[in-house]
């Protein structure tokens, strides 16, 4: 589907070119990545988006990227350097780049910045993210059905709203189909460290976990799940080749259409600071093909949930939901507003353990 979209975009572009906009300088788009392009997860998918952008816009865009940029002071240096080199638009693709992006954007008012998964904006800083929690709901349903030990392991990176939201969404969905399900969350405090991610997976398996979810960037946990004969889900990328039997489904990030839209806006002169939060409906969050090991009725249930979310008839956070301390968060039938979701800093009722701060 991605291919046809790209093709359609390319066709549209060549028409525009035939209309005669040859003499234009290409727009320069820069990307800052938190991991290596070859992480085969989060950063890999952003880079696929960059390649889609190149394919769609051809001569009208020039792209560049810097990979494995640490979140922090070093990120500011890399962004400033990129901005000085005459780049028109910079995509900074990790939550930890939020403050550096705002700081650097202040010094370069003519450069447009797009920060992924954050919440701070400025006149030249846009934010964008995907509603990964919609995907978490779907795979949470599958996890709840598939676990036999009723223990689901969750390898989490940093205690930031996006990650907490994912844990809550997956837990609520799993709990709705399996009241006995228990989530074991391990925080590894890194986005990318295959060794540590693998150790975390092993530690969880020692505790009787038979389904693993992750919010880290490498396919290490999938590899361990395959080795130990348990289930896992692809994260950010499909990860099928790392766990041909272990992989049940996956959450796939598709950034290409968004990058094409935003760079087109720069070309047209219509770019302005906005906040985008797209999900399954818009295609930014994709659900990977279901494994044959999932029974047909569970597949149907998961597919129905994905369809309902896309249609807008199902919200993964629909009351009644209590917070972990037992206080009421959402009343019967009430759905969470985006503001609360964006800043989510609490576990829902039923998840054990304290949320680190």
């Amino acid at each position: 589907m991605k291919f046809t979209k790209t093709l359609a975009a390319a066709a549209a572009m060549s028409l525009a070119l035939a209309g005669g906009a040859f003499a234009q300088d290409p727009v320069k788009a820069g990307f800052i990545y938190v991991g290596p392009v070859g992480d085969l997860g989060w950063t890999y998918q952003h880079d696929q988006g960059r390649l889609d952008l190149e394919a769609a816009l051809g001569d009208k865009v020039e792209t560049s990227y810097v990979e494995s940029v640490p979140e922090g002071a070093d990120a500011e240096r890399v962004m400033s350097q990129m901005a000085r080199s005459g780049v028109d638009i910079i995509f900074t693709t990790s939550f930890g780049y939020m403050d550096p992006t705002i700081n650097v954007a202040e010094n370069f008012p003519d450069v447009r910045f797009e920060h992924a998964t954050g919440y701070k904006r400025a006149d030249n800083v846009t934010t964008y993210s995907a509603r990964f929690y919609e995907g978490r709901h779907v795979i949470g349903l599958i996890a709840g059905n598939m676990t036999e030990t009723n223990k689901v392991g969750y390898i989490a990176s940093f205690p930031i709203p996006e990650v907490v939201r994912g844990i809550n969404a997956a837990y609520l969905a799993a709990k709705s189909v399996n009241p006995d399900v228990e989530f074991k969350v391990v925080w590894v405090y890194t986005w990318f460290d295959p060794g540590k991610e693998a150790d975390a997976a092993n530690a969880l398996i020692e505790q009787g976990v038979d389904v693993i979810m992750q919010h880290t960037d490498s396919p290490a946990a999938m590899t361990i799940a395959e080795e130990k004969g348990i289930f896992a889900f692809g994260q950010a990328s499909d990860m099928m080749e790392f766990g041909p039997t272990a992989r049940l489904s996956s959450i796939i990030d598709d950034w290409g259409p968004y990058y094409i839209e935003r760079v087109n806006a720069v070309i047209d002169g219509t770019w302005e600071s906005t906040d985008t939060w797209d999900g399954i409906a818009e295609g930014m969050v994709g659900i990977g093909a279901f494994s044959d090991r999932i029974p047909a009725d569970v597949q149907a249930q998961a597919q129905a949930a994905a369809d309902a979310i896309a249609a807008g008839t199902l919200h993964p956070f629909t009351g009644p939901i209590n917070k972990q301390d037992g206080s009421v968060w959402l009343a019967e039938g009430e759905t969470a507003d985006d503001g609360t979701l964006a800043g989510m800093n609490f576990y829902v009722e039923g998840i054990e353990g304290d949320l680190p701060n």
Binding site: G35, D39, L40, V186, K196, A198, D199, A220, T223, I224
Partner: protein, 310 residues
Amino acid sequence: MDFSSLDPVAMIVLLIGAATPILLAAIGELVVEKSGVLNLGVEGMMIIGAVTGFIVATTTGSPMVGLLGAAVGGAVVSMLFAFLTQYLLSNQVATGLALTLFGLGLAALMGKSYNGIKPPRMDRLNVDGLTDLPVVGKLFFSHDPVIYLSLVLVFAVWWFLNRTRAGLVLRACGENHEAAHSLGYNVQLIRFGAIMFGGACAGMGGAYVSLVRVPQWTEGMTAGVGWIALAIVVFASWKPWRVVIGAYMFGGITILQLSLQALGISISGAYLSMTPYIVTIVVLVIMSADRKKASLNAPACLGKSFHASH
């Protein structure tokens, strides 16, 4: 809180797996530093070892041949560093950092077509009657060969440095290269050899990550283990047995905090993750506070270039 489901034996097995890459790289770097050379390129040599080991293992189908390939790969890239620093007298710190960057880039290039491939499994030791023993069997007789090899290597290094004439000569190069030279020893050649040994060890450490700990190839997968190995050498104050303690302690803290979290005990992983680094810094401060002690431990010519004409 219920600790009964926490199996200490299983944790120790995991701990050894996490510690072995660090141990291998650190014991190699220890020999390099004992000869008077500071090679900051451990991370680069490890990742080259991770990718060459992976390529060789998947091509030949034998993880042990892969390990050998990783040692060769690590040694070959370290020769670049050795040539630049020993014969062209380039700055060791800068060259070491460059070696890390070069290694990461080259490994990414070499591994391009190896994503998503499953390497052959490294067999674990299985001795009839021993491996099945409760506790002891799992603790001592159930590991893969690399773990035993790494410990044998530590012993061999200790024996070589402290009990052989060649080891004495190597240490002499590290303590006073002019004296070693005036006695007729070829300082550059000895250091060249030490650097290659360090490269081979780092390469095997990297291959342990890509073949055993996370059996897959991913760019940048050593994720800073090389830097930890460098810190462990200082922590160990250049003593082989203390390298084992340092590496196992580091692995132990990593596994302990992950296991406690998996058990559902709230601990602040962020602080526990920091502990090994903090301990290393504290050891560094204590050592450098006492000049006499520091000069006893650190090789006196560490990081200094040697040229026969001076």
